[in-house]
């Protein structure tokens, strides 16, 4: 039995779409049928459906041997795990967005504080960063921040809130991560799962 922590929501949908198009592993049906279950067991694999931010924690602590989460989460939280593979789904990107184009953006609202700090440090621009956990767009709409740094997939949420992407930042995709100890002790199961993903 191998345990895999999966990020719920958008990334899970993207994972299932990828599986639809690239062969159906035996466990695909069970995963697709999951409604609100947080634990799905099928064909010798136990899937934990958790919040994306928590996937690295489950893997680092050894509760799950593998995890699938976005590179945005790994960039922000820097977990002590093996980041084995880039996966060909979950594509989106970080972006700086605002209501009006400004010569400088001095106050930034974001969920990704560490990532945003590194972006502005790289461009040698001092900024004040306000940490928000959700509905980040609102901060730019009501003038709490000059701009936001957030994940953009289609851009619909930005447009619906009267915001526009000003700078396209780093690309994001799904990553397969492994517990550093399980990388050795469960290597056969990990390799079998990678083969079922048909990556590369």
């Amino acid at each position: 039995m191998i345990t895999i922590a999966l990020s719920k929501g958008r990334l899970l949908k993207s994972f299932l779409d990828y599986l639809e198009q690239n062969g159906h592993p035996r466990w695909h049906g069970a995963l697709k049928a999951a409604q609100r279950e947080l634990l799905v067991e099928a064909e010798g694999i136990r899937f934990l459906l958790v919040k994306g931010d928590d996937v690295p924690t489950y893997v680092e602590e050894g509760i799950a041997e593998l995890g699938i989460t976005g590179s945005d989460i790994l960039a922000e939280y820097g977990a002590d795990v093996n980041e084995l593979l880039e996966l060909p789904f979950g594509h989106c990107h970080f972006a700086l967005a605002s209501k009006e184009e400004l010569p400088d953006y001095r106050t930034i609202a974001t969920k990704y504080v560490n990532y945003s700090r590194s972006v502005f440090d790289r461009s040698e621009k001092p900024v004040k960063i306000i940490k928000l956990n959700g509905s980040v767009e609102l901060a730019a709409v009501i003038g709490m921040a000059d701009a936001i740094v957030d994940i953009v997939q289609s851009g619909d949420t930005l447009r619906m809130n009267g915001l526009e992407e000003r700078v396209r930042l780093d690309p994001i995709n799904a990553r397969l991560i492994a517990n550093k100890h399980a990388f050795f002790t469960k290597s056969a199961e990990i390799r079998a799962f990678i083969n079922e993903l048909r990556v590369g």
Binding site: H181, F184, S187
Partner: protein, 274 residues
């Protein structure tokens, strides 16, 4: 009030320390102690010292940086680089402090470059763990810090490559190293990686022979599963040979670790954390 005065767990812990020190003293190891507070001169700090500082408990007093002991081998290496030591084998026990947490460490050092002597001391440590410290470790991960410099040459110094190696990232290593054989090796089971390394890089034969010898010592000590790690990077620059991590049943953090290092002369040290 009584429970405050008589704490059985604390008594057992102290007894365990005494047993450990007595056991190794009986095998010719000198018992050593070093201050738990270490002092650093601002201008004399090495790259290793600076790298560890963010994980240490530090404070500044009278222009000197003080830090709580982070790791016994690290303290011993700093001592050996400064002073001469008569002991050929040493054993110690005491607390270490990592990122705000206190852990106890029991360990031994062999100040000799003779591999059989080093391997004998490893066997003693595993034997002690089996008899008196909660049982035999279930798994071991073994690496050799001479492998990667030989395989990658100067590229081992590139930060992006070091990051990809530490994460064992096939994707990142493929992007960075192109058609170099190393990324493809990571797709094999750890046991098979060494065989392929041997055929791809015949020049590392002696290092792999050494690794095999240590693997044999671990197996003879009763450890069921021994896995080679070909991408391991040393946490401190003095580690320059074999490095071993031992794991207990169901544990994802090593219960013991250590390896070969150089501090004026070749040595081997291993510590149990609890």
């Amino acid at each position: 009030m009584t429970s405050f005065i008589y704490n059985p767990a604390l008594i057992r812990q102290k007894q365990m320390e005494i047993e450990f020190l007595s056991f190794f003293h009986g095998h010719g190891f000198d018992i050593i102690d070093l201050p738990v507070v270490e002092s650093f001169d601002w201008h004399g700090m090495t790259e290793d010292d600076l790298r560890l500082m963010p994980q240490r408990e530090t404070w500044i007093q009278d222009g000197t940086v003080h830090a709580l002991r982070h790791d016994w081998t690290n303290s011993i290496v700093r001592y050996l680089n400064k002073y001469k030591i008569d002991a050929e084998r040493a054993v110690y026990s005491g607390p270490v402090f990592h990122s705000g947490n206190e852990t106890k460490q029991l360990g031994m050092e062999v100040f000799s470059d003779r591999t059989p002597e080093q391997q004998e001391s490893l066997g003693l440590l595993i034997g002690f763990m089996d008899d008196r410290f909660g049982g035999l470790p279930k798994t071991a991960v073994i690496s050799h810090y001479a492998l990667l410099p030989t395989i990658l040459g100067e590229r081992i110094l590139e930060p992006a490559i070091r990051r990809a190696l530490s994460q064992r990232s096939e994707s990142a290593l493929k992007q960075l190293l192109g058609d170099h054989p190393l990324p493809a090796l990571l797709g094999d089971r750890p046991e098979a990686q060494v065989h392929k390394l041997r055929s791809e890089f015949p020049e590392i034969g002696p290092v792999l022979e050494e690794l095999t010898g240590w693997e044999e010592t671990l197996r003879q000590s009763g450890i069921e599963a021994v896995y080679p790690d070909i991408t391991a990077l040393p946490s401190q620059s003095y580690y320059d040979g074999v490095f071993i991590r031992l794991y207990g049943e169901g544990r994802t953090a090593p219960v013991a670790s250590g390896g070969q290092y150089t501090a004026r002369k070749k040595a081997f040290g291993m510590g149990i954390f609890y």
